[in-house]
Chain length 478, copies 2
């Protein structure tokens, strides 16, 4: 009764609220460098993404090689201007797919790692130790030992207690590792990450590194977290880092060799979903507001504004400019990968169209719970987008919803949808929850090649001890 | 400046608010059937859980065999009373560990599956087809085909559109599968799950199954979702199912053979965290209120109250009582498994003690983001719990926090913590995010055996194509 009344209220209020809050911008596929085939399929370099399912199965991760090279070259572009070189280290955790990482390394991009596993992976993929930066709050002693033994480029300590561990390892190995200190600026994350500049914790830790006797004080590392969208945000935290570097020079007499500005640049077409918007969307199918890509700085502007500010600062005091590092994750790969999913079933409700049940949900797209991602009708691009579907994933959880209000043409079973910007935090957060994980292919011109094969059922229990079922055991079940 | 002011306000207000909202109940380890050794270690049947790390590594999932058998026997206990048999099907998705599943099957418990993979797994583990129930909103046509071809016990359709698919498969195979309809009662989840009783959708679908000509209308399936804690909740939805079964008999002339009451019984020591409590905890370290285990019905009471109500209903009209199914997930395994994690690093802050960084976080304990779980100092049980730690996991995400206010003794690096009630939705939601997944061992009396070995680094990229690094490629990185 109550539920019926509630439904009626929603049906009355929904259209009014939806009109008031205008929906997401419908972006052209060209925004991602994609086209539409004569059959109405979303395509990359004439390869229909929906058709890739025939060979590689569904769901399917598709890496767009051209976009990946474009993003990388934007990050490296500032180096062509005769300025201080911006050195780029890809954040492994964002999308740890060897085929993607090897493409980036081939372009001159190094590795930013946060665990013993990622350090191992970088070395296995042929990254020289002097192109590896090691970060994170949870470096095991073994991981620190491996990093110091290998003479990696830079190890950034996250909090004061780590300094003693690194010093102990350095003494044991007779090494003098290059060490930076992760600091927290006045904006952005803090919590478990880094030491506050404003409260003096950062300087105290830097001093401790310097006085350890066995560590080479080399860098300040500042990663604001969240999603950077404006030059103002960048200039703000870069300014705080410069002031701290000056204090280090003045009080400790050390000119830092490296300023490491971390990552955090947003993917232009992705934005966080506020609790308020999420509730409106659940209740009234109000679309989540899409970010306006042109309203944010480009990769090139981001690098350039930071580099210029650092250069100007050092030029003004006639000092030599330090090396400048960036550690992009989402900005490098976020919009270079697409998760293709298929409509498994339709569940029409009142008001129509109701639910479409997909073969990918939060098991593969966990980020879509908290971030807006465009979802395109990959096999029906010419249809008019007039219906508001609720899109559910396949796992039996009420939280397995990718969108409460996806504007799409009328769908049929088997249709492909493209969850855009799946190149950051989709693969590392993916699970084998009731369904095996998909293949990852790369489209490179007209060539399509497999980076990671799909899991098969046997893979999911490959590490398990399975007892051979006996007749007696089966009888217990009869 | 603002941040400093905010911190001072929190420090002033924190103690007052914490006093007002009293903390979680500190439960004795005996509640989980555990003891404490002379060395102050949490132990199961004299096996120190912290010490298991020496052989099997950290983190580590520990399955408590005795507890698992106890829970299973509670579910089956009502059968000893000469009543209608309650048939139990374990919800595979909750904790799909073959060693756990095989133990349950050995006790006479069947399989409730929601995907082609889980159906395959049940058959592989030796579960006879007539002990398998297939549910869920996302059954692929292949999965339905396999289920019908194997003559499984029951296939519950989730929404009307599935009926045609099952009928089509049945016709193609010349089979007459036993079909139930998932219905939504007036309480609990609805969304993408099931057809509303109140609005008549459920009856319409049941009629459609009956009139298909090729499907054997067999069951009503009602799974309320959420966390059932009281007999009143159980009796409420059971009553709605009985009324619907009567209508089916009266209008269609069909006496349903099975009433399937799904799962949803809570783990007594786990509860959802409200947004309000989460914010209070983040800001002021106010402990999340722990549920009072004795305030909820036991497994036995749960089964008994449903069975009695069904029996009484059918007895009153002198009809034969149908078979009664339950599909427990969390209530069966939730409190029979523990995730042991180690303190990797301490990050003291003001006010002390600040952060403890653990080797397990939301990568392995995703549920702890939204659910309260007790966390015990597994290697320091005799210490007085006087400090409020913030517990962070190892992945570089601000969301990787297991507790904002865990009351613990003073911790040292290497200490073990026990994240309790890790037997539901921990393993299936686990990822290899920057860190390999842990081993799973079972403690059975003084015997400890391995159910699943820990991932090694090579496992994580076993499905990837890795190019051999060449000299030229490495040069790009110099």
């Amino acid at each position: 009764m109550l539920r019926m009344a509630r439904r009626q209220i929603k049906q009355l209020l929904g259209p009014a609220i939806r009109q008031y809050r205008s929906g997401g911008h419908e972006l052209s596929p060209a925004h991602w460098g994609l086209t539409v085939t004569a059959l109405g399929h979303l395509a990359c370099d004439s390869v229909s993404l929906a058709s890739l399912r025939e060979k590689w199965g569904s769901p399917l991760h598709v890496v767009l090689a051209r976009r990946l090279r474009e993003n990388a070259s934007e990050f490296l572009a500032v180096n062509g201007l005769g300025r201080t070189r911006a050195e780029i280290f890809y954040s492994y955790k964002s999308n740890p797919v060897p085929g993607v990482l090897q493409l980036l390394h081939g372009l001159g991009i190094g590795a930013e790692v946060i665990s013993e596993y990622e350090l191992w992976l970088a070395l296995k993929l042929g990254v020289p130790a002097n192109r590896i930066v090691f970060n994170g709050p949870a470096k095991s002693t073994t991981a620190i030992h491996n990093a110091v033994a290998q003479d990696i480029l830079l190890l950034n300590v996250n909090h004061r207690e780590e300094i003693d561990v690194v010093a102990m390892v350095a003494r044991a190995l007779g090494k003098r590792p290059r060490v930076g200190v992760r600091v927290a600026a006045s904006s952005g994350w803090s919590g478990q990450f880094g030491l506050s500049i404003g409260q003096g914790e950062a300087f105290a830790a830097i001093k401790q590194v310097h006085e350890s006797g066995v560590l080479e004080l080399t860098a300040i590392h500042c990663h604001v977290g969240g999603m950077l969208r404006s030059a103002q945000q960048v200039l703000g935290y870069v300014g705080e880092v410069l002031a701290l570097a000056d204090r280090v020079r003045n009080e400790l007499g050390v000119e830092l060799a490296i300023l490491d500005f971390g990552g955090s640049l947003a993917t232009p077409t992705v934005a966080g979903i506020s609790e308020f918007d999420r509730r409106l969307s659940m209740a009234f199918q109000v679309p989540i507001p899409a970010p306006v890509p042109d309203a944010m700085i480009s990769i090139r502007e981001y690098v350039q504004c930071a580099v210029e500010k650092v250069e100007a600062h050092y030029a003004a005091t006639a000092r030599r400019c330090p090396r400048i590092f960036f550690e992009p994750g989402r900005a490098m790969t976020g919009n270079t990968q697409i998760l293709i999913t298929s409509v498994l079933s339709l569940n029409a409700q009142d008001p129509k169209p109701g639910w479409a049940i997909l073969d990918a949900g939060i098991n593969l797209a966990e980020s879509a719970r908290s971030e807006f991602h465009h979802i395109l009708p990959a096999s029906r691009m010419q249809g008019e987008r007039t219906l508001r579907y609720r899109l559910a994933g396949p796992i039996c959880s009420p939280g397995d919803v990718l969108s409460w209000s996806a504007l799409l043409p009328e769908l049929a079973i088997g249709d492909a949808l493209a969850i855009m910007d799946a190149g950051a935090y989709f693969v590392p957060f993916s699970t084998s929850f009731s369904f095996p994980r998909p293949a990852i292919v790369m489209v490179d011109g007209s060539d399509v090649h497999l980076l990671r094969r799909a899991e098969i059922f046997e893979d999911i229990i490959a590490l398990d001890r399975v007892e051979q079922p006996t007749n007696e055991k089966c009888q217990a079940l009869q």
